[in-house]
């Protein structure tokens, strides 16, 4: 019976070692990107868990669809048909303008803007931890989604894809503390960087020098610098501008353009570059 009391490893020592290992991993993964390939490779384990966790919401949505009245559906259909007509009319003008824009740009000798197409995705999940802001979408590598892909909604930039598995993808929102995006102030063409603050309803501008001409209400759009986001998508409106006397940088808060609080569908943006990488064109609803 002697062996019964012989501990092979003392749990306390083991705990100390594993605590230090955890701490090291946390520093490496929190500060750098060295462990990202590990995350990419483990999508297979994650998928069933994500699928199960999305199940309750799906069931609720399914039953509420089932009980929707015929009148209500009729009303929605009429409204949608009306919107389609309005959008088609503006689209007519749009293509003429686009052609004109391309012609003028070629006259000026600058490269014409790449046209982009989009894929609609449904939001499957939200981050359960309020200190990180991400959403899970129901489209994955099988649909051509790639890491770094920009995500928008009807009103503006939502974020970018940070992880993909074959059927799902994870999108980091612009409001996350780890997210930054290069922008252009439309009125003055000032180049700036918008970063998340960890709140759903506000962003901020990094390194705004006191001499820069910015005011409340200025529209900020993606500048296309950094090669990640296509240029021209609205990011937000300047909400407040604060310059403390003597400070080198002004504190500028920005209201996000996209409706991050009430998202249910978003658009994944494909530009010509990514289309070249084997995405089937027919699956994408061309937008331009």
């Amino acid at each position: 019976m002697k062996q019964l009391f012989l501990e092979r490893t003392n749990p306390r020592n083991q705990a100390v070692v594993l605590f230090i290992v955890s701490l090291l991993l946390f520093v490496i993964d929190g500060k750098g990107e060295a462990l990202n390939p590990v995350r990419q490779g483990t999508g297979l384990i994650l998928e069933p868990i994500l699928w199960l966790s999305a199940l309750p919401a799906q069931l609720i949505a399914g039953t509420s669809d089932f009980f929707e009245t015929r009148d209500h559906q009729q009303a929605t259909l009429t409204e949608l048909a009306r919107q389609v007509r309005v959008l088609q009319a503006s689209q007519l003008k749009m293509s003429a303008l686009e052609a004109e824009n391309a012609r003028l740009r070629s006259l000026l000798g600058s490269a014409s803007r790449m046209s982009e197409s989009v894929l609609i995705a449904e939001i499957k999940g939200l981050s359960p931890d309020p200190s990180t802001h991400y959403i899970t979408l129901d489209k994955g590598r099988d649909d051509g989604v790639f890491v770094g892909q920009p995500v928008i909604d009807a009103a503006g930039l939502v974020g970018q894809v940070v992880e993909t598995s074959s059927k799902l993808s994870k999108v980091l929102l612009v409001t996350d503390q780890n997210h930054a995006v290069p922008v252009l102030a439309v009125r003055t063409a000032a180049q700036l960087i918008v970063e998340g603050r960890g709140h759903r309803d506000v962003l901020s501008l990094r390194h705004v020098s006191a001499s820069l001409d910015l005011k409340v209400g200025d529209l900020l759009v993606t500048s296309g610098l950094g090669q990640r986001f296509p240029s021209g998508y609205p990011v937000g409106l300047i909400q407040s501008y604060n310059l403390a006397p003597g400070a080198a940088f002004a504190q500028v808060l920005v209201e996000p353009a996209s409706r991050l609080q009430t998202l249910d569908h978003v658009l994944l943006v494909f530009d010509q570059r990514s289309l070249g990488e084997g995405v089937e064109l027919d699956r994408l609803a061309a937008d331009g």
């Binding site: 749990p11 306390r12 083991q14 705990a15 594993l18 605590f19 290992v21 955890s22 701490l23 090291l24 991993l25 946390f26 520093v27 490496i28 993964d29 929190g30 500060k31 462990l35 590990v38 995350r39 483990t42 384990i45 994650l46 868990i49 994500l50 199960l52 966790s53 999305a54 309750p56 919401a57 609720i60 499957k124 999940g125 939200l126 981050s127 359960p128 931890d129 309020p130 200190s131 990180t132 991400y134 992880e163 994870k170 503390q177 603050r197 960890g198 759903r200 009430t262 249910d264």
Partner: protein, 164 residues
């Protein structure tokens, strides 16, 4: 009672998987985001139960691995959850004989305190190492978890008696 066909340690894995799913289930659309602060630490609760009920099967190393899987599922930095879970398992390994003797409400208090330690570690890690700005509402999590302990305990005890 008829002997259940499938007895074995798989029940531990299944309950932990269920805890992970519960940790990830999104709130219904339109509910305030702050409700997430009240979400109990389901994985931590399940971990405490198994570490106290079957310490020879669920030790510090298992807690470490569970923490890493939780980090993967919840998209937190690797090590974020295992930091606290390793401590939980070590506490359980040294006190399980006494904890088993306690009343269920005494256990719930103890669970609240130990999960408070976990949140303190996580808060320190995030704010010191990653320099994040955090909400103090984070500290509500141990309270809601402590309130859930009696139900988690009864359910998991039933699972253990039937299937393990």
């Amino acid at each position: 009672m008829a002997e259940p066909l499938l007895r074995g340690p798989w029940v531990i894995g299944l309950t932990l998987l269920l805890a992970l799913v519960l940790a990830l289930v999104p709130l219904p659309a339109g509910s305030p985001e702050a409700l997430n602060f009240l979400r109990p630490d389901w994985v931590g609760l399940a971990l405490i139960y198994w570490a106290i009920a079957v310490p020879e099967r669920f030790g510090v190393l298992a807690a470490f691995c569970l923490g890493l899987v939780t980090d993967l599922v919840l998209s937190s930095a690797f090590g974020y959850h295992s930091l606290g879970y390793v401590i939980l398992a070590a506490l359980a390994a040294s006190t399980y004989q006494q904890v088993r003797m306690l009343e269920i409400w005494q256990q719930a208090t103890l669970v609240t305190v130990s999960l408070l330690i976990v949140v303190l570690i996580q808060y320190a890690a995030l704010s010191v190492i990653l320099e994040r700005q955090l909400s103090l509402l984070m500290f509500l999590k141990p309270l809601s978890s402590g309130l859930m302990w009696p139900w988690v305990f009864l359910l998991l005890r039933l699972c253990r008696r039937r299937y393990l």
